[in-house]
């Protein structure tokens, strides 16, 4: 039993129950969950490839005046597609909405500006997108250490962590997507995995 759980329950049972109901009922992350729900790797890659192919030519055409060689532009485009994919999720990407293109090209132009400087964006016309600057993820030493311990876990446990904490799936959904037979097993594996991670970090 966790200290926080006891604290909530003993100090304010009503608030605790309200909060628990909120978690079960509210689901503000429902959309995100649905986006990633039942996505086989094939479907994920198909959405990613689709996004990549759809806007690649328009991007290269739009950036033909930019003083960057094609390989660098492609690298920028690939990074931007991945960022867009991680932001929007598979289902919204499939719909190809205008916001998606604006976001993708905004990220692209943000990265181009980072490369060649604000004043050097050699474009005949003004960039028709709101430039979005995303910071590159650089893992901290603690995160790198955690990564090592995480990779050392079994693939099944890694997958459970990914689906639970990153994809925000429920335990029954995780059971449906993995080779685990029931919710208890999933919970137990996650709990033991977390315990192991915590203990290894302390060492």
């Amino acid at each position: 039993m966790n200290v926080l759980g006891c604290f909530f329950y003993t100090e304010n049972p009503k608030a605790f129950l309200k909060l628990r109901n909120f978690i079960y009922i509210s689901r503000t992350n429902k959309k995100l969950m649905l986006n990633r729900l039942f996505q086989s790797p094939g479907k994920q890659y198909s959405a990613l490839n689709g996004l990549y192919r759809t806007y690649k030519k328009p991007f290269l055409t739009e950036t033909e005046d930019v003083r960057l060689n094609r390989d660098i532009l492609l690298d920028i485009y690939q990074d931007s597609v991945v960022a867009t994919y991680q932001t929007y999720g598979t289902e919204r990407i499939k719909k190809k909405n205008p916001d998606l293109k604006s976001f993708l090209f905004g990220v692209c132009w943000g990265k181009i500006e980072e490369k060649i400087g604000n004043t050097s964006v050699a474009k005949k016309t003004t960039v028709p997108y709101k430039i979005i600057k995303l910071e590159d993820t650089v893992l901290s030493p603690e995160q790198k250490q955690l990564e090592k311990h995480f990779i050392a876990l079994s693939e099944n446990v890694q997958q459970i962590f990914k689906l639970y904490y990153y994809e925000h799936l429920s335990n029954p959904q995780i059971v449906a997507q993995t080779s685990n037979t029931d919710v208890k097993t999933v919970e137990s594996l996650r709990k033991r995995g977390l315990k192991r991670l915590l203990s290894q970090i302390k060492k």
Partner: protein, 238 residues
């Protein structure tokens, strides 16, 4: 209870708590170092997993691009191979079509048989002797014999075999052409043959227009002699 707490942590990490709930949770975090450590680890874990996914997806796109660029040289090779095959086929067709007039002559020429005085009966006389020589392939002797037979007057059909004898020797194309021109204006029953052999002779001597003219005359003649061959030759000459 543990399960609810885990859901709570996840909702906090996912930023899906409302402000008051978030505030309460953060207060609990401050008071519980164990919980704080757990949340920090899980928060870091989200970053690690996201970064892993980013790298995986990026490499996926790089592979996609690489596969595409690898396909390009293959496509170029296939196109080059296709062009080469077409070029080779064209060359073969070109060479097939580029048959010389001399080769056409050789292909289409055959000795005209003796059907005026067949000597199979064994009855050899002065009149049939040249025909016998003709059948035996002694064309010089046959030509001389036909000349002897025509000493008392030119007979177009004999003149035809005389001409064929000269033609078969291959020694005097000019003489043969002259004789064929003469025969064309005669009343020989061998007029279609005259037209055919004169066209071949013109062909042999690279007088293609004259050859064409003779072939057209042959096709316009009511007899069907060598019509199929005449059409083929005209096609090839065109």
């Amino acid at each position: 209870m543990e399960r609810e707490l885990q859901e709570l942590i996840r909702s906090y990490l996912n930023k899906s708590l409302d402000p008051s709930e978030e505030k309460a949770f953060e207060k609990a975090l401050e008071e519980d170092p164990v919980l704080q450590e757990e949340v920090t680890v899980l928060s870091n874990l989200q970053v690690v997993i996201k970064e892993q996914e980013r790298l995986l997806l990026k490499s996926r796109l790089q592979d996609l691009e690489q596969q595409k660029s690898q396909r390009k040289p293959l496509m170029v090779l296939l196109i080059a191979a296709f062009i080469l095959v077409i070029a080779l086929l064209s060359t073969v067709v070109f060479w097939q079509e580029e048959v010389t007039p001399q080769e056409l002559y050789t292909t289409y020429f055959d000795v005209y048989p003796n059907n005026l005085r067949p000597t199979a009966t064994g009855d050899i006389s002065e009149e049939t002797q040249p025909f016998s020589e003709y059948e035996l392939g002694n064309y010089d002797a046959a030509a001389n014999g036909f000349l002897v037979l025509m000493e008392n007057g030119v007979q177009p059909d004999l003149q035809f075999y005389y001409t064929m004898s000269i033609l078969n020797t291959g020694k005097s194309d000019d003489e043969a052409i002259m004789q064929l021109v003469s025969l064309e204006n005669s009343n020989t029953k061998y007029l279609p043959q005259v037209l055919w052999y004169s066209s071949l002779l013109y062909l042999k001597n690279k007088q293609l227009d004259s050859a064409r003219t003779q072939l057209i005359k042959l096709l316009n003649h009511p007899a069907l002699y060598k019509n199929r061959e005449a059409e083929q030759l005209l096609d090839k000459l065109d």
